[in-house]
Amino acid sequence: MPSATDHSANGGRLGWMLPHFFLGAISVPLLAAFWVEFIWQEAPCTLCLLQRMCMLLAGMGPLWILSQQADPSRVAPLAPLAPLAPLALWSRGFGISVLAGALGLSIALRQILLHILPDDPGFGSPVLGYHLYSWAFGIFVLVLLCSGGCLLFAQTLAPATVGKKSKITWATIGLFGALIFANTLVVSYKAMAAGLAAGDLQ
């Protein structure tokens, strides 16, 4: 019976660790965004929210790989499809990240260009000397570089995993899922509150 750490067929431990690291790393700026929103009391603009969405969408790539690594017990009974081959799974996952990263990079660049004129104070408070959209630009560049590298060496890195997911995998997926749910709740609550306030004003 293969175990959760039985990944030696193709990629070995590196191929198993990379999606975890990718998903964990993309969760850090999303947590930081909550810190800025609730501790510093700075509400995000539309472009900030769009960049946040792109980060979540970029994280769906490694999440795809982690959640679909053949574990028959976790595949829904109604799902009619057989497990993907490791290489196809790996390529599709990081393909998702490339698409999301390119879109996020465009949005971050757009926001940087909106504030590029001299003496423009920028939007929001800078974090460690840079505004959040500048950080987002760097993060999306890293997403593209990492995804490109993983696709380039897909044949070597793609793990041929069969077995149950480890606790680390579930913790990584759980943290990312909690961030998605939290964002959905916060944005929906604000949209409804804004709608109610607009209704009161009429």
Partner: protein, 52 residues
Amino acid sequence: MIEAGIFFLLTILFLALVRGYRTLAVVVFLLCFTFILFDFLYHATSPLSLSL
């Protein structure tokens, strides 16, 4: 409001991935990507964006 809808779609995408519904996940991913792209394009071409 559209942002709340996209986050809701992202939630569905997450659940579809975790539960193993690959076809649904691909469809929802493409929907998310399209909505984010069009929301961005709308924002980029809107006169309101000049007020940022």
